[in-house]
Amino acid sequence: MKRIKKISLVLLVLLIAIQFLHPARNESLQQLPTDIATNYKVPDSVFRILKTACYDCHSNNTRYPWYSNIQPMAWMMANHISNGKEELNFSEFGGYSIRRQTSKFKSIADQVKDDAMPLWSYELMHKDANLSDDEKKLIMNWAQILEDSLSANN
C-alpha cells in the first residue's frame, strides 16, 4: 500500500512538473508572400472551409483550444501540427515547386473525395470540420481546376 502511495506521488509530481513545459506555438502574425491566398484565387466559400477544417494543422496559424495548455495534450498537438505542415502548408504553398503544387492540388481533391481528410479524430473535436457533401464538392472542384490549369501550362 505504501508503495502505491509513493508511486502515485511520483507520478503526480511529474504531471505537475511537465505543466511548466510549453512547446512552441504554431502562431504567426504576418502573412507570408508564399501564402496560398496571395498565389491563387481562393473564393470566400472555399477559404472559409480551409480556415475551419484545414488551417489548424496545415498552416502557420493554429486556433488553439483551451486544453492545448495542458500537458501532455500540448505535445500531442505540436506533434500533429508539425506532421500536418510537413505534408501540406498553405502558408508556404507558393514556395513549393510548380510540380509539387500540382501534386498537392490533386492530393487535396483525392483526400477529400476519399474522406481521408479532415481526420475523423479532428472532426471529433471540431464539429465544424465535418464537411457536408456540398462543401466537399466545393473543395474538390476548386483544387481540381487549379491542378488541371497547372498541368496544362507546364
Binding site: 512538473a17 512552441a24 505535445w75 515547386s97
Partner: protein
C-alpha cells in the same frame, strides 16, 4: 521520507531535461522553417526509410530507380498492395541516393525538382500498404514524374513503353511506364488488365 523526496526530484529533473531537449528541437525547426520556406519544403523529404544506411549504399543509377518503379508497377497489376508498399520504400531510397554528380547544374535542378516530388509519392505508397486505392492515386502522379525523369536521364539502356489508361480516375485517365509491349494495367489491376493503349516507345 527525505530519501524518497530526493528520488522524486531526480526523476522530475531527468524528465524535465528530456522534455526540454525535444522542446528545443521543435522550436529550432520551427524558426528554421520560418526563416527559409524552401528549406522547410525540402527538409522533410530527406529522411531515410528504416533499414537504409546512407553511408553504405553505393550510388544509385537511373536503372535502379526504374527497376524499383517497375517492381511497384507490377505489384499494382497484380493488385498486391503489400508488394507495392515494399517497392515504395525501395524507390524512395533510390530517389534519395540517385547520383546526379555528373549532370550539369541545369539538369541537376530539373532532377531535384522531380525527385523532391516523386520521393514523397514513393513514401506514401510505402506507408499505405492495405489501402491500394490511395496508393494508386500517388502512383498516377509518380508515373508523371518518372516519365519526366527518363526524359532527362534516359532509360539506362532499356526500352520502355509509355502507356495510357483512359478509364482511371473518373475517365480523366492516367499514364504509366512499362517494360513490356503487352498492356498490363496497374490502375485497374486484375479487374481490367488489358485496358489501355501504348502511346510512346522510349528507347535509349
Amino acid at each position: 521520507m527525505k530519501k524518497y523526496f530526493a528520488i522524486t526530484l531526480a526523476i522530475a529533473v531527468v524528465a524535465l531535461a528530456a522534455c526540454n531537449s525535444s522542446n528545443n528541437n521543435s522550436t529550432a525547426s520551427q524558426t528554421d522553417a520560418n526563416k527559409d520556406t524552401t528549406a522547410a519544403v525540402h527538409q522533410t523529404q530527406d529522411t531515410m526509410p528504416a533499414g537504409m544506411n546512407m553511408n553504405n549504399t553505393t550510388t544509385v543509377s537511373v536503372k535502379d530507380v526504374i527497376a524499383a518503379y517497375l517492381q511497384m508497377k507490377n505489384a499494382f497489376t497484380n493488385d498486391n498492395t503489400n508488394d507495392a508498399a515494399t517497392a515504395g520504400k525501395n524507390l524512395q531510397a533510390a530517389f534519395i541516393n540517385l547520383d546526379t554528380k555528373t549532370l550539369s547544374a541545369d539538369q541537376q535542378k530539373t532532377i531535384n525538382d522531380i525527385t523532391d516530388d516523386a520521393k514523397e509519392h514513393a513514401e506514401h505508397i510505402g506507408a499505405n500498404g492495405g489501402n491500394i486505392a490511395h496508393q494508386r492515386e500517388h502512383f498516377d502522379l509518380l508515373s508523371k514524374d518518372m516519365a519526366d525523369l527518363v526524359k532527362t536521364l534516359g532509360t539506362g539502356g532499356q526500352t520502355l513503353y509509355k502507356d495510357f489508361c483512359p478509364m482511371y480516375n473518373n475517365k480523366k485517365g492516367a499514364y504509366w511506364l512499362s517494360e513490356t509491349k503487352e498492356i498490363k494495367n496497374p490502375y485497374l489491376g486484375k479487374a481490367m488488365p488489358a485496358c489501355g493503349v501504348m502511346k510512346e516507345e522510349i528507347k535509349q
